[in-house]
């Protein structure tokens, strides 16, 4: 399944999978969830120190690995697969993405070093885009006596409760600014939110005259870039989780017997499993494609991200639902992990925009929105796929 990856990337994937299978099995995931820990501190430190994963996207000069999004993609696949709880994604993808997109800056460099070392956990409070809908944040910045102050509310911040530093995106005059807000800032209030996904934490963040340091200049295109990276990252998580869904469904269909034979011998169940397989392979292919585009840092990133998420959001949720159907009653119990995957995948479906959102985005990118038109008999030069002769 790894032929499209370079050998060293495959090796990274194997290493991370082995590590997570050993250190973060389902029992450990449930402990973190049940005890409300947010993350397993020991695993978190080892991810930083032994595997150097927090700094994958941090330049080597700042103590990171300086690898590309291809490597990050396979790591996120494995985290989706293992349901690893914790702020890895916010920290190593969103915050690092925002800091690197902000342009060279002393504070940004300082934070990147701390993140790579695992000393600091950072996250991003977007001005919009976490769920692909406007109106998520009223945060705004104003300059008074040479200092930036933030006021307003951000409806949901991923890992907003556990982060040591919040990177708040907020209008600053005519521009959009990126602001660093340490968690102990006065006037900062963080309220944990109930989450569909038990392995992903959100907090509402209220800012009342909070003093903040601005990083870099206008962050309008920076935020767009980070949102696209986040979209590609979630697509990788979805792909990894769906691989696991496939294994669960197939294993159970082989094991569970009804009417004197394994349920996997019934065509209806076979077809459910085959459909999950189609989704798992397609989601992986499209997530890796998007990660390659992200690694090239090309203009095609927004389109590739939208393509990946337009596909995976809908399809992976359907796969997680089908998995519960294959399992029958046992799949509806709290004890069975099927719901943990459904929760993680469903929340991933909505994060950074669902399929409909990304199709709308694509319609714009493809020039199909207002202004483009279709003739009464639009006859394309190329005909439908089935116009090719078929073999019987």
């Amino acid at each position: 399944m790894d032929h499209e990856l370079a050998p060293e990337v495959s090796e990274l994937r194997r290493t991370v999978r082995a590590f997570l299978e050993r250190k973060a099995p389902e029992s450990a995931v449930r402990r973190v969830v049940d005890e409300g820990l947010g993350r397993d501190a020991e695993v978190w430190d080892q991810l930083a120190q032994q595997l150097g994963l927090h700094g994958l996207l941090v330049p080597e000069a700042l103590g990171g690995q300086g690898t590309s999004f291809v490597e990050m993609g396979v790591v996120l696949e494995e985290m989706g697969r293992s349901l690893l709880p914790g702020p890895f994604f916010s920290n190593a993808v969103l915050a690092v993405g925002a800091l690197t997109a902000s342009g060279a800056d002393e504070l940004a460099a300082e934070l990147l070093v701390a993140v790579a070392e695992g000393r600091t956990i950072a996250t991003v409070a977007f001005s919009e885009g976490l769920t692909g809908r406007p109106g998520e944040s009223t945060a705004a910045a104003r300059l008074a006596e040479g200092r930036w102050r933030l006021n307003g509310q951000v409806e949901a911040v991923l890992d907003g409760r556990t982060a040591d530093v919040l990177l708040v995106v907020a209008p600053a005059g005519a521009e959009l600014g990126l602001f660093a807000v340490p968690a102990d800032s006065s006037g900062l209030e963080r309220t944990p939110l109930a989450g569909l996904d038990l392995t992903r934490e959100f907090a509402r963040v209220c800012l009342t005259d909070v003093e903040a340091r601005r990083i870099g200049g206008d962050f309008t295109s920076g935020q767009r870039h980070v949102l696209a990276l986040g979209t590609v990252g979630i697509a990788a998580e979805l792909a990894g989780a769906t691989q696991k869904i496939l294994e669960m469904a197939v294993d159970y269909a082989k094991l569970r017997e009804q009417f004197g034979k394994p349920i996997g011998s019934f065509q209806a169940v076979k077809h459910l499993c085959a459909d999950i397989f189609v989704t798992a392979e397609s989601a992986l292919a499209v997530a890796r494609y998007a990660a390659r585009v992200a690694a090239e840092d090309s203009e095609g990133l927004v389109e590739a991200a939208a393509l990946a998420k337009a596909y995976s959001s809908e399809a992976c949720t359907l796969a997680a639902e089908r998995n519960i159907q294959v399992h029958g009653g046992i799949g509806f119990t709290w004890e069975h992990p099927a719901h943990l995957y459904l929760r993680r995948i469903k929340s991933g479906e909505l994060l950074f925009g669902d399929s409909a959102h990304h199709r709308e985005e694509l319609a714009g990118l493809l020039g199909l929105t207002a202004g483009s038109a279709v003739g009464p008999v639009a006859r394309p030069a190329v005909r439908a796929a089935s116009a090719e002769p078929v073999r019987v």
């Binding site: 032929h3 082989k254 034979k261 694509l362 020039g367 483009s372 009464p376």
Partner: protein, 369 residues
């Protein structure tokens, strides 16, 4: 100069003149003429050995050549089943004498079809009942084939027959190579739902062919057939990029047509869905290509590509019809309507969607039969 560069030069030199004579989308006669032109440069099947009319390219180079042909919008060839399926099977199993068909397959002087399905055996191919009985040094064939693609215009057939009625069904089948002008062979076109006739039913009544017609060992025709089906596999990469091209072309044609109405939000969304599906199949093709590069074989994604391609074709035809508005049900050009109707075959021919999902579940996922 790489093979693809050489092919580009060849196409630049020959394609414009061909188009001048035959147009953009030629019918069978035009495709046959194009196949002859293409084969003068040994480009019909560049992955075949040189002695048979190919260039001995590896599968990755050959796929790159298919991409170039697609990029130029070159017409298809006439004898598609011979080139894609029968030829490679003859190359693997055929005797010296049988291999003499190979250059003829490439230059279009022989058009091959495959006599597989029968009235009683569609999905259950191994249940076939057309019999061949050895009589001296001849096989005597009796039975009927149906849904034979290209069956009316083909000159030859790779025919599956039962040669041991007492053996378990997979073990009593043999493959024969026969000319269709053999006495005792009769064919009728099947008029299909589009009104066209792309398939034939073929009757065998005491048809006699020499024993040298046997391809591969006696009673091992099932294994020989599997080779035939296997040869379609790396072709899925080509399918995948075709799908991507098709959907991009559809979107492009709608974007630049300024004469009519605007797309409604729902139609636009449907069109973008098709674009997403087409691109996903294209990306699966790239993944398949990576497997072929690494192992010489496509991975399990190839079965998905066929499955998705067939369903995608139907959905795209539906979407195009929806976008055509009134002109799609009553207009001067019935091509969209024909495409829509023809697309119904894509989830039936070459293995129904349901059977393909069974096969995928059993062979790839290891579920019990």
């Amino acid at each position: 100069m790489t093979a693809t560069d050489e092919l580009r030069h060849y196409l630049d030199a020959h394609l414009p003149a061909f188009r001048g004579q035959w147009g953009e989308q030629p019918e069978f006669e035009g495709k046959l003429a194009w196949q002859r032109i293409l084969q003068k440069g040994r480009w019909v099947a560049p992955q075949w050995a040189e002695e048979f009319g190919g260039r001995g390219l590896d599968v990755v180079e050959a796929l790159a050549c298919s991409e170039v042909l697609a990029e130029y919008g070159a017409p298809g060839t006439a004898g598609i089943y011979g080139v894609a399926n029968v030829g490679p099977t003859i190359a693997q199993w055929g005797t010296e004498e049988q291999r003499r068909h190979l250059p003829a397959i490439l230059d279009g002087s022989e058009i091959w079809c495959q006599g597989f399905s029968e009235p009683g055996t569609g999905s259950d191919l191994a249940g076939l009942r057309t019999r061949a009985v050895l009589d001296g040094d001849e096989f005597v064939i009796d039975g009927q084939k149906i849904w034979t693609s290209d069956g009316v215009r083909a000159s030859h057939m790779q025919l599956l027959v039962r040669t041991d009625p007492d053996a378990p069904k997979h073990k009593g089948i043999s493959a024969l190579l026969i000319p269709l002008d053999t006495p005792g062979v009769e064919r009728n076109p099947i008029r299909q739902i589009t009104g066209e006739s792309e398939f034939a039913e073929v009757y065998f009544t005491g048809a006699r062919v020499p024993v040298s017609s046997l391809l591969g060992p006696l009673n091992q025709g099932w294994g020989v057939t599997m080779t035939t089906l296997g040869h379609e596999r790396s072709g899925v990469v080509t399918y995948a990029s075709q799908v991507q091209r098709q959907v991009e072309a559809v979107v492009d044609s709608l974007r630049f047509d300024r004469t009519g109405r605007e797309l409604s939000p729902l139609l636009r969304d449907e069109l973008v869905r098709r674009w997403v599906e087409g691109r996903v199949v294209g990306v699966l093709g790239q993944r398949s290509l990576a497997s072929i590069r690494a192992t010489g074989q496509p991975g399990p994604e190839q079965s998905i590509i066929k499955l998705e391609w067939s369903q995608f074709g139907q959905r795209l035809a539906q979407t195009q019809l929806a976008l055509g508005g009134l002109g799609a049900v009553a207009g001067p050009d019935d091509a969209l309507m024909t495409d829509y109707l023809r697309a119904r075959a894509s989830t039936i021919a070459g293995g129904t969607t349901e059977v393909m999902k069974n096969i995928l579940a059993q062979r790839v996922l290891g579920l019990p039969s």
